[in-house]
């Protein structure tokens, strides 16, 4: 069995993938740690050779107000979007899971924003947020019976993040709806039939059967939405690039700061340190998911 061909054959199959993984994933990942300990610049110059600076970049991160503000913005976004989008997605899944004529059509409609590119979504919503006649201003005016006047949603420091949250939820809910739908369809029917025989009402069945049976799905959805909130970039990048008057300080996220420090300011060492901290944050959230999934239920 152990012929020579059978010892080299697996490596022939594995070689292209392993080569690409090492070069474009493992190597840059290690470089992030390495660069974070140096004053590496994007454009190397002979006058300023790269040197080892130990943990100076990390010390500077701690003292940088922009870093704290960026993490705060991500947290704010996560604190709103994760619960709201997950709850909306669960609601949508419950609604289209009922076997009614037309349920498939509605499922399609709710999923359509997912098939729309995020950069395009941000542009479309910017039209709603437009200050002068703007659709949203008109709607707010009507709903508040004229009490709330027009706002410049993408230029008002307090309103940018909520505006970004709304369009992100609109785009992302359909995807999570499908994940919940898969979870719902995996629940055995006889559980509901037994509960109905015992005289359990709709709300009771939801609380005692649906929610517990969806536990792992819910954890998965909450964790992936939180990680996506940490990765928030496209929406804020499009808004930041759309005009000089955007109040970038109030919506700059960690990834946007990484790009601005490393790419625009050329401070690769500093941006790498921030990338490492960002990675540790994502790792922490994933670790939390593992702990929660291992937490209670058996096989």
């Amino acid at each position: 069995m152990a012929t020579r061909s059978s010892e080299t054959a697996p490596w022939c199959f594995a070689a292209p993938g392993l080569l690409l993984l090492s070069l474009f994933l493992v190597l840059p990942f290690l470089l992030a740690f390495l660069f974070s300990l140096t004053d590496q610049r994007l454009l190397a110059s002979d006058a300023l050779p790269t040197g080892f600076v130990a943990l100076r970049n990390y010390a500077r991160l701690l003292a940088d107000r922009n870093v704290w503000a960026a993490f705060r913005n991500n947290l704010y976004f996560a604190a709103v979007v994760t619960p709201v989008q997950s709850a909306l997605a669960l609601g949508l899944a419950l609604l289209v899971n009922r076997e009614l004529p037309g349920a498939r059509l509605f499922r399609t409609i709710y999923f359509m924003p997912v098939a729309t590119t995020m950069a395009v979504v941000t542009v479309i919503w910017s039209l709603f947020y437009a200050p002068d006649p703007g659709l949203l201003n008109r709607l707010v005016h009507l709903l508040s019976l004229g009490a709330i006047g027009p706002r410049d949603w993408l230029r008002d420091p307090r309103l940018v993040m909520p505006a970004v949250m709304a369009l992100s939820i609109w785009q992302g809910a359909g995807f999570q709806m499908l994940v919940f739908l898969a979870g719902l369809q995996a629940i055995p029917r006889d559980l509901y039939e037994a509960a109905a025989l015992d005289g359990a009402g709709g709300w009771q069945r939801f609380r005692t059967i649906t929610l517990p049976m969806l536990r792992n799905t819910t954890i998965f959805v909450l964790v992936t939405t939180t990680i996506q909130a940490l990765q928030l970039f496209t929406q804020v990048q499009v808004i930041a690039a759309s005009g000089a008057s955007a109040p970038v300080n109030t919506f700059r996220t960690v990834v946007l700061l990484v790009v601005q420090e490393g790419f625009r300011n050329g401070r690769i060492g500093y941006a790498s340190a921030l990338s490492v901290v960002f990675f540790l944050a994502v790792l922490g959230v994933s670790g939390l998911q593992r702990a929660l999934l291992r937490g209670r239920d058996g096989p």
Partner: protein, 281 residues
Amino acid sequence: MSRRAAHYALLAVLAAFFLAPLLVMFVSAFKSDELQLLRDLGSTRAFLPCGELSWRNFAAVLADTPFLRALGNSLGTVAVTVALGVLVNSMLAYALARFRFRGRAGLLAAIIALMVIPFESLALPLLVLVNQLPWFGGHGWLNSYHVQILPFIAHPFSIYLFHQAFATLPKDLEEAARMDGASRWRIYWSIALPLSKPVIATVAVLQFLARWGDLLWPVLVVRGPGHATLPLAMQTFFGQYPRHWGEVMAFAALATLPTLALFLALQGWFVRSVVSGGIKG
């Protein structure tokens, strides 16, 4: 009956919420009178094709902006990335699932561990790296197609999905083929791969969605319209002043149509892929 009516009413309200932005985009794209477009935004006319309607915005986008170039760039880079990704990742997964060799278990564990690394955390070191790489004529890879393809072919999560699929395939067919003297490559190519079509679809759809929408990497490695993909071209056009909303919406509508059409045509595959790819816990 009234409960059912309430159910449908709720479904309809939510449908309006999800459809309204797309509707306004398509309707506004046809409004060639910019002042009228802006006036309409203050009323329900924003949702209606009224006033002066024409294809003029679309014609302007096609003639005066690099839209078609960006569409071609997106289609080309994403198609090549997805196709090579299916091949390379399934080959690696096949080696892990069907060969016994030293270090196999450790390699599989390492690849699964790599799944947790978000691209955002290595984008800048990767930028420095590709800036130094030789090959493909010339020093540095910036402003090219290969810089938008090669780093994204190998993908740990796709390898993991392929590995799961291959590991659960019954071995009888492959063993019978080996008895008949078929080579390992032939068994992989004509038996294992064709039996794994659902996973191929899942991997292709998930990679397509991720690569098609990516803005971070193009922002870092592309200058000018030559190699820009749709998200970057959209951002650039949106950032130009004076802003002409009719043309911006025409650009957005044109950028949305291909993926929307693809999704509506292949809906079943899409939904199944998202579901099976979503549950990786």
